[in-house]
Symmetry: C2
Subunit: 358 residues, 2 copies
């Protein structure tokens, strides 16, 4: 038996990836020109499939990058003229905040301790060009409730609302009309090999970037947002892209459409429910996030304290690989990914084993 | 029979790639954390293997990017304080020149018509921060003779000599002591799927970049050269990288070491010789590059004029895929890649078929 990866990303591959990879090799997709019509068809199909899976409004444009981390810099360059605001409650939201700081923009911060979510401002504030928020903090397993997420747009009517959905897409059913730009990596809940970032940009955000470009604030780089969008409208990319990854992405998204996104989302909720239920009753382990409405469905963080290493070894002996705690929580917590590729049967087995751990 | 891709890149995969891909899947490499020791070992092995294959001096550092095109911008930011000089003799050398211009640096140019190489300056010139030269112009099939390439360092003692070796590595045996930074893509002569750039940087170049960083000329970006180098010294990357591509790269480089780089280089020269010999005698086709010492071994460009489409169809009917002319030469030329993955037998078959074309 191969190991099952419940690691928070890179994670287990979606179960159809290996099949699509074989097809890609047989049909020579790894050798086609990225300027060919054949590539354009692949890009176009990826876009069509993703728009269908996510029910993405027509005013959103999909562009590909090589990672989500790279998008933090592009968000800074594309949308921040003067200052941004960052909701920080873990390592990844903090990294975006630092990227903005390092690029000499004025970055404001609303911060909370790990495992919680800070209070969002309650009154209207028009001083920020961008508000950065992480829907699902992969380091802590805290999710931002959607009603809170959507209020950001009302509170900051002038800002571009930029949502880190790295470990949320395609599991979370966002109302995209209440956001401006959303980005993700494919090696998390899409179940693909690392090396591709997925960036969704609405027309308001695009307009803002074009304005900053005209003003000379946004550099005339061949990989900037304008170039990415203009190329994407022709199903092209500025550089030779990871063609294979785009093909695999397109195919896996199609498989998810065929399986039914409702089914996928219900399965994730079922799996998260049985895991949290068991953890709430466990004799020595407990969920890190105590407020139930903040508990992420896709990244479940467990306080395992001094038992962490023993727990990781125990699960690994059953070929079940989970993640260690992130950063300062390394050796004190485990992190369990609950993605579409993880079957209910695999998850039930994992829950049973953790339940028996003492 | 599967098609054989003699396209100039993406091109045919190195014949061991499929095997390594299977191993990668079985061993779970697509699911490992890029912060794990297992990943560090993969990166380290890739570096060790490449240094051995290329006989790279110890004062060179390897970093990975997602493409070579991306490196043009990084070269601009990392090394050019005021002005650069560009040897331009085709589409790709010209693209680098344009990237520098677009980023508001003062870019000088020495230009020649396609199919030739301009005269390099003969006297010492200390006014440039960087000299950009393309060893092998993938658009035209012109190579820069190594003695001319090496003279650039003497002529421009203050400049970083930056060599586009996109369709040259690992076939060309550079004397790296006479250059400062060299970059390539893996989807050309390395025979790998697109989605990874390979960037070699010597200590002189690194020092220059660190100076520009201290002076505030180089932005404090998490993906700038300093971050890439610092992370690479610890076998890490700033973003989640294309782990699978780095693994495949490492393994293919090892296979090339085992086969023997001398053997690989001799085979390429043999194949290019039989192709050019045939073309020189052909009744209707002729090599685009007339000066023999400028003829690229790895990218062979053929003037096929009004017969181009017919020739492409004829070869495709034999499952041999070659490239169309680039840019303005589309429909007037064909381009044939001669990479390590193309066997002598395959090449002889291609030569025979082209010889019979009329």
């Amino acid at each position: 038996m191969r190991s099952v990866y419940f690691t928070p990303g890179p994670s287990g591959l979606y179960y159809t990836v290996e099949h699509h990879l074989k097809t890609a090799f047989k049909s020579g997709i790894t050798s086609i020109s990225h300027r060919s019509n054949q590539f354009k068809e692949i890009f176009k199909e990826a876009e069509t499939n993703l728009k269908l899976l996510l029910q993405l409004p027509d005013n959103y444009q999909l562009v590909f990058t090589s990672s989500a981390t790279e998008i933090w810099e592009k968000l800074t360059d594309s949308f921040i003229n003067t200052r941004s605001l960052h909701i920080v409650n873990g390592a990844f939201s903090n990294k975006f905040y630092k990227v903005v700081n390092n690029l000499n923009k004025e970055a404001g911060i609303i911060e909370s301790t790990w495992g919680t979510l800070p209070e969002f401002a309650s009154k209207t504030d028009k001083t920020y060009d961008l508000v950065g928020v992480t829907h699902n903090e992969t380091s802590t397993g805290v999710k931002t409730p959607l009603n809170q997420l959507y209020r950001l747009k009302e509170q900051h009517p002038e800002a571009i609302i930029a949502v880190d959905a790295v470990s949320s897409l395609p599991v979370v059913d966002f109302d995209y009309t209440k956001l401006d730009t959303v980005y993700a990596s494919v090696q998390k809940a899409f179940g693909l090999p690392a090396g591709l970032g997925v960036w969704l940009i609405n027309d308001t955000a695009e307009e803002r970037a074009r304005k900053l470009s005209e003003q000379g604030v946004l550099r005339n780089s061949s990989h900037n947002i304008i170039s990415l969008i203009d190329q994407a409208r022709n199903y092209q990319t500025p550089s030779t892209p990871n063609v294979l990854a785009i093909y695999l992405f397109s195919q896996v998204v199609k498989d998810m459409i065929d399986r039914g996104i409702e089914q996928i989302r219900n399965d994730v909720i079922y799996k998260s429910a049985i895991m949290y239920n068991m953890l709430d009753k466990h004799s020595i382990l407990k969920p890190f996030v105590t407020v139930k409405k903040l508990r992420s469905d896709t990244i479940i963080v467990v306080d395992s304290g001094s038992k962490t290493s023993q727990l990781l070894t125990y699960l690994a002996s059953h070929k079940l690989m989970v993640g260690d705690g992130y950063g300062k929580m390394k050796g004190k917590q485990i992190r369990i990914a609950n993605f579409p590729t993880h079957s209910k049967e695999q998850f039930e087995m994992l829950v049973d084993l953790i339940e028996k751990f003492e």
